[in-house]
Structure formats: structure tokens, C-alpha cells
């Protein structure tokens, strides 16, 4: 519209430029004569937003939200269930007495719903984004079979300590696994901490942005104190493939935990496994309202690193957070980049005495 006007006037294109230079100052009185006072609202004075009649009441956080509900059944993925879903694999004992833990991960293409009505043509591990949260104990022998049922070559690159051949990058070991093929990665679970895995096939950005990543937890041999454990993967989706994300979330679905707050019991220890898998933005962050948490960076030490209410992580950086909510009520959590918050990365903890 504006281009139409300015182009229509292109012969007097300088007019538009002059409008910027001259500004309204000297000319506004003349314009004001044409447009009687009271017809346009004075600056800064607006009727507060109202929900139009007939529309559903908005959820918490007012009107800054997606409209509608994601069909988690159709998607066969529920972010609320994902929080506490740990894949512990098939356990057996090796001749030397060590524990062997075997996983199978199948990569395949699957459209997923990332915000109500918005379907993203994802590439998945086991049909979900993020893929299953694989969990082992420090020192165990790990075997992960990757089956590629997708349309592109894929790999699994595990963060952790292993041989070059098990690194899951093109040109090393099995390299890229073509569609219809499979491979097995084997290594020892070390060091303990909070790790991740992701496809390292090329082009790398595309394979990660499409959803091929997941959380890999190695528990310390001594264990951690009992707690309500939650997995939170900060991720985002570039739905129109312009190299910028349109949807931000934790565990994929925008605003999911705003509609379905995470329920915890007052005073209980809550442990959050927080992993940043956001593509295209160098950093992401988490801020929890009305509380502070202890940070165990990468989860590789059992002593807290700091006590804070906001943590910033680069892509692939992660941290274990521990906190207790002293008061009942709803406490918001979100990225403290307000842009990400408003684009879906926000939710609530619902703290009560009866908990889950």
C-alpha cells in the first residue's frame, strides 16, 4: 500500500523524502484543519485490548499467545509427558561384569504440529522432536543402533568421550548412514553429566533445525538426591525456511506449558535438565519467576556453580538446575529474550501442596 503511494508519486519521489525531512512540524497545523480534533486518538491513549465477542477466553499471559490447541494425540507426542519420559534401553551384563545398555533410534520424516495448526515437516528420532531422552549410568557400556528410515542420510553424534570412529560425523567410522541402512555406535558412558545427541549429517544446520536431536543423561555413579526430574529442551522452528525462527518453545510446542502448567509440589526438590538446541540464534535463556535455582553447569560436578534466577546457554550448552518452590501458586518461566518469550517460549509451574 505504502509502496503504491510512494511509487505512484515516484515522479515526485522527492516528496516522500521531503516529507521525512520537513516532518510534520510546520505542516501539521494545516493537516489538522483537514482532520477535526477528536477523530484520531491522542498519542498514548488507547482503549485497553478487549476479547472480541464470541471468541474463546485467552489463557494465562493475556492475549500474547497462539490461538487454538495442538492435537497431541494425533502427533503422538505430549510435551507434558515428555518432561519425565526417560528411555533407559535394554540392560544386560557383559562377560566382564559391566552393564551393557542398548538403545535403538530410528530416524524418519514426520510432520509435527509445533503451534496450533502449524505443521512443520520435521525429521525425527523415534517420531518425536526432541528424540527420546536416553539415560544411562556413569561407566556403563552403551550401544545405540541407528536405523535410517528417512529420506536423507543421517548420523548420531553423541556429546561425551568416545573414539573418533564412534563420533557420528561424515567421513569417520560409519559416516553418514544412507536411507534404509543402519549402524551401531558403542562407547562407555563418560563423563557423567547432562549431554545431548544430534544428527551431524550435512548440511548440518538443516539436519538440526529439522528436529534431529535429543537429550543424553549420564547419571553419576553415586547418584543425585531424589527429586522431581524434568527434561527441558529449548528449541525453535524456522517454518518458512528463511534462516530465522517463527516458533520458539521448550520441548517443541509453543506456549504448551502456559496452557498446561507443570505441576510440582511445594517444597519438593525439582531438578531441571535444561539443554539448548535452538538453531539460528546463538543463545537462549531460562528465567524462573519468584524463585532462584542452583546451577550445575553441564551437570559434570556435584557442587553447585551458582545460585541465580536466569541462565544463558549457547547452542548445545546445558545445565542441571535444582530448586524448591516455597510458596504455592503459578510461577512463570520463559526465555529472558522477550522476543523468544512472545514467540512461544514460555510456560508456568503450578505449585501446590498436593503436587502432581
Amino acid at each position: 500500500m505504502s509502496s503504491m503511494v510512494s511509487n505512484f508519486l515516484s515522479r515526485r519521489g522527492f516528496l516522500a523524502a521531503a516529507a521525512g525531512l520537513v516532518g510534520g512540524a510546520g505542516l501539521l497545523p494545516l493537516a489538522a484543519r483537514g482532520f477535526p480534533a477528536g477523530q484520531s486518538p491522542p498519542p498514548g491513549e488507547h482503549v485497553p485490548p478487549a476479547v472480541p465477542a464470541g471468541s474463546a477466553a485467552p489463557p494465562a499471559h493475556g492475549l500474547n499467545t497462539a490461538v487454538g490447541e495442538v492435537d497431541v494425540r494425533r502427533m503422538a507426542y505430549d510435551p507434558s509427558a515428555f518432561l519425565t519420559a526417560f528411555e533407559r534401553g535394554r540392560v544386560s551384563r557383559l562377560p566382564d561384569g559391566r552393564t551393557l545398555r542398548e538403545f535403538q533410534v530410528v530416524a524418519y520424516d514426520k510432520p509435527i504440529e509445533i503451534a496450533p495448526g502449524v505443521i512443520f515437516p520435521a525429521w525425527t528420532f523415534n517420531g518425536t522432536v526432541p528424540g527420546p531422552t536416553l539415560r544411562a549410568r556413569e561407566g556403563e557400556r552403551i550401544r545405540v543402533k541407528l536405523v535410517n528410515a528417512g529420506t536423507h542420510p543421517h548420523t548420531i553424534h553423541f556429546h561425551g568421550i568416545h573414539t573418533a570412529a564412534m563420533d557420528g560425523v561424515p567421513g569417520l567410522g560409519a559416516g553418514e548412514v544412507p536411507p534404509g541402512k543402519s549402524t551401531v555406535y558403542h562407547f562407555d558412558a563418560e563423563p557423567f553429566g547432562l549431554h545431548l545427541y544430534h544428527c551431524h549429517a550435512l548440511p548440518l544446520k538443516r539436519h538440526i533445525a529439522k528436529g534431529l536431536y535429543g537429550v543424553f543423561i549420564i547419571d553419576p555413579a553415586t547418584g543425585r538426591p531424589p527429586a522431581r526430574e524434568l527434561v527441558m529442551v529449548m528449541n525453535a522452528f524456522d517454518t518458512n525456511f528463511d534462516g530465522k525462527n517463527e516458533v520458539y518453545a521448550v520441548n517443541t510446542v509453543a506456549f504448551h506449558y502456559a496452557r498446561h502448567p507443570i505441576r510440582v509440589r511445594r517444597g519438593e526438590l525439582v531438578r531441571i535438565y535444561l539443554v539448548n538446541m535452538t538453531e539460528f540464534d546463538p543463545i537462549n535463556s531460562l528465567h524462573i519467576h519468584g524463585n532462584f535455582f542452583h546451577v550445575y553447569r553441564t551437570g559434570t560436578r556435584l557442587q553447585a556453580w551458582e545460585y541465580t534466577d536466569t541462565i544463558m546457554l549457547c547452542q548445545a550448552e546445558r545445565a542441571v538446575l535444582e530448586l524448591r518452590f516455597p510458596y504455592p501458586g503459578r510461577y512463570m518461566f520463559h526465555a529472558h529474550q522477550s522476543e523468544f518469550t512472545e514467540l512461544g517460549w514460555m510456560g508456568f509451574f503450578e505449585v501446590s501442596d498436593h503436587g502432581v
Partner: protein, 398 residues
């Protein structure tokens, strides 16, 4: 065979039936063929190879206190579903009527309760079910005018300032023109042609740039071609029908010029109304002053053909109104219901009308010129006409 005589008796009816049959046969076959093609043709294979191409156009955004109204048209080949709406990179609550799925060429209105900020820019992005985004920038947020009496009056006054008054000021050159020799009348007619060519190019350029904002399936450029050629041909026919007598033909040319200029001024009105709609008050002010200066020369052009034999006062008044009044209509349309489709069509019709009038002016001069149309004086007049238009535009900026 038994009914041969009866058939012979109704031969005309039978043969008419046969004619209709011959006319319809290809259509029926074509229909069957298209049906067959869509059912089992190769399209399925072609379609499977490509993701859907969506083409949504936000044709207009109206701002009310605490509310945004977004008007959408689906100009793509397939239905599009609006999944979410973002304002300034934030998901926002919205309602959509009649529904979220727009069929091909379908339209919908999104209502967003949003605390927009007076004088600032806002970006509205529509996210479709397939994740594609269609954005529209409100450059300077201001409450959209509604057709209240006060606004109607204001826009009418603006239109009058821009269109009616300057044209009548120009018509005041009439007594001066009456006292000129034939050579100098031809000079001023040539000058008129120069003015008109400039206005025609201007309108055509406006039409083409506006065509870019027309939803894809409505084919903005084709709309320009239709408006341009349609108005040229229509005025050609009108001129032929009305221009029987030599004496009246000059008056007819004057009316044609007035009509062409009127359509062009309608475009100017649209620009003013649309600029106001965009909150560009400073631009509106410059436009009004610019067009005022500019349009004075149009009055000269209108009366030049009848300078020699004169015209009744009522004709002069009517000519001025035909040329000037459409500006008022333009400001109304631009201010209240701006639509790139209408704007494109009006501007193209205006351009066609002007070019046709240039031809008429040329013929008028040619019919009266003893030997040569392209005399030094006439050529100078034409070039001067172009130059006047160019420099009155510049003068406004300086």
C-alpha cells in the same frame, strides 16, 4: 422419413437447433476433457513433486482503538489456512471471519485485540498451516478514518482543494485563449498534449506499481492492460458517436480531455486518501499543495480546444466539474476503503483516457493545420507542456 414434411415446415427452427448444437459441441467436449484431465491427468504426478505454493495478500489493515482489522485475499492456486497471527514478532490472540481456511480467491478478515501505539510502526504476520509467513507493515499507526460526517467533509474539502479549485483557476485562462490567433491556439493545444502525455505516463506508472500489491490470482498487470485499453476504446467510440458535426467536435474534445483528466485526478485523490490512511500526514499536506499547483495547468488544457469558437458558461462549469470532482471521490475511496485492485483499475483507466485524449487533440490540430502539424511552435508547445509538468512537480519540493 415420415415426418419429412413436418421437418421441412420447421426448417429454420431445426437448423437453428443444429447451429446451437454445433456451437455447444466443442464446449461439451472441452468440459469432458477438462474433467478427465483433472481426474486422471498427469497433474497428480506434477503436484506430488512440489510443496504447495501459498499466496496470501494482506490488502488492507484498519486500526481502531485497541484493535487491528486485517483484510486478507488468497491469490494463490489452492486453499490456504491461517494458523496463527503474529504482531511485532509476538503470537497474538485473534479471531477470523468467515473462517481460517480461505479458498482460492477467498477473503477473510482477522480481528486482533492489540494495544498498538499511535505514530509507531507495527508488523502483522500471518502464519499459515504449512508454516509460511505473509507480513504487512503498518508504517505509521493511526486510527483509520471512518466515513463519519466530519471525515467525509474533510476529504471532500481536500478533494476540492486538489481537484476542483485549481482546474477552475486554469479555466480562467479561457478569455486569454479566446484572443489568440490560430497559430497560438495550436501552440497551446500542443502544450496541452504535452501536459497530458506526462499525466498519462504518471497514471500508468502508478497503475503498474499498484498492480504489484494486487493478489496474485487477480493479475494486477492484466488489470492494467484491461483498464488502459478498455478506456481508450470506449472513448474512441464515444468520440465517434458524438463528434459528427465539426463545431461540436471541439467541445467534445474538451469534454474528453476533462474526462481523462478527471480519471487521472481520481488517482490523485486515491493517493491522498491512501497516504492519510497510512498516517503520512506530512505527505498528505505536500500532496495537496503539490497537486494544487500542478492541476492548474489542467484547466488550461481543457479550454484550449474551444478557445477559438468559445463555449457557454454552463459548459465551462461542467468541464471544470468533470475534470475536478473525481478527485473528491478518489479521496473517499482512498481514505475509507483503500483497495489495490480498485486503485490499479482506476489509474489504468485514467491513463488510457488520457492517451486517447492526446490522440484527439492531435487530430484536432491536424484537421485545422494547413500543411504541417509538427511546426516549430507546436513542437515547442508540446515540449513545454512536458517541462511544465516536470517543473511544477519539482517546484513543490523546493
Amino acid at each position: 422419413m415420415a415426418s419429412e414434411s413436418a421437418a421441412a415446415g420447421s426448417t429454420p427452427v431445426a437448423s437453428r437447433g443444429r447451429v446451437w448444437g454445433y456451437a455447444l459441441l466443442p464446449l461439451v467436449l472441452l468440459g469432458l476433457f477438462v474433467l478427465f484431465f483433472l481426474r486422471v491427468g498427469p497433474l497428480g504426478v506434477l503436484r506430488a513433486a512440489f510443496p504447495p505454493v501459498e499466496d496470501l495478500t494482506i490488502t488492507r489493515v484498519a486500526l481502531r482503538p485497541g484493535l487491528m482489522e486485517v483484510f486478507l485475499t488468497n491469490g494463490g492456486p489452492a486453499a490456504v489456512t491461517v494458523a496463527q497471527v503474529l504482531v511485532d514478532d509476538a503470537y497474538w490472540h485473534f479471531t477470523i471471519h468467515p473462517g481460517p481456511t480461505l479458498p482460492r480467491l477467498g477473503r477473510a478478515t482477522i480481528t486482533i485485540p492489540y494495544p498498538w501505539v499511535q505514530g509507531e510502526a507495527h508488523t502483522i504476520t500471518v502464519l499459515t498451516g504449512s508454516g509460511l509467513t505473509f507480513a504487512h507493515i503498518v508504517e505509521v499507526a493511526t486510527e483509520s478514518p471512518r466515513p463519519t460526517r466530519a471525515f467525509l467533509l474533510s476529504f471532500t474539502l481536500l478533494g476540492a482543494y486538489v481537484g476542483v479549485v485549481p482546474v477552475f483557476v486554469g479555466v480562467l485562462w479561457f478569455p486569454f485563449l479566446r484572443r489568440l490567433s490560430r497559430r497560438w491556439v495550436h501552440f497551446f493545444l500542443s502544450l496541452t498534449a504535452g501536459l497530458l502525455v506526462f499525466l498519462g505516463v504518471d497514471a500508468l506508472e502508478g497503475a503498474l506499481s499498484s498492480a504489484g500489491a494486487v493478489p496474485g490470482a487477480l493479475r494486477g498487470t492484466a488489470l492494467v492492460a484491461m483498464g488502459l485499453l478498455g478506456s481508450i476504446l470506449a472513448l474512441l467510440v464515444v468520440g465517434r458517436l458524438a463528434g459528427g458535426r465539426a463545431a461540436s467536435s471541439r467541445l467534445v474534445v474538451s469534454y474528453l480531455i476533462a474526462a481523462g483528466i478527471g480519471l487521472h485526478n481520481l488517482g490523485e485523490g486515491l493517493a491522498i486518501g491512501a497516504a492519510y490512511n497510512l498516517g503520512q500526514i506530512a505527505l498528505v499536506t505536500l500532496l495537496v499543495t503539490g497537486f494544487m499547483l500542478h492541476n492548474t495547468t489542467e484547466g488550461l488544457g481543457i479550454v484550449a480546444p474551444v478557445a477559438r469558437e468559445g463555449a457557454a458558461l454552463r459548459h465551462l462549469l461542467a468541464l471544470g466539474m468533470v475534470a475536478g470532482a473525481p478527485t473528491i471521490g478518489g479521496t473517499w475511496i482512498g481514505g475509507f476503503t483503500y483497495s489495490p485492485i480498485l486503485a490499479t483499475l482506476f489509474l489504468a483507466v485514467g491513463a488510457g483516457a488520457i492517451f486517447q485524449v492526446v490522440v484527439e487533440v492531435g487530430r484536432l490540430v491536424a484537421s485545422e493545420a494547413a500543411r504541417e502539424v509538427a511546426t516549430l511552435l507546436n513542437t515547442a508547445g508540446f515540449v513545454l507542456g512536458l517541462a511544465i509538468m516536470y517543473f511544477t512537480g519539482l517546484f513543490v519540493a523546493l
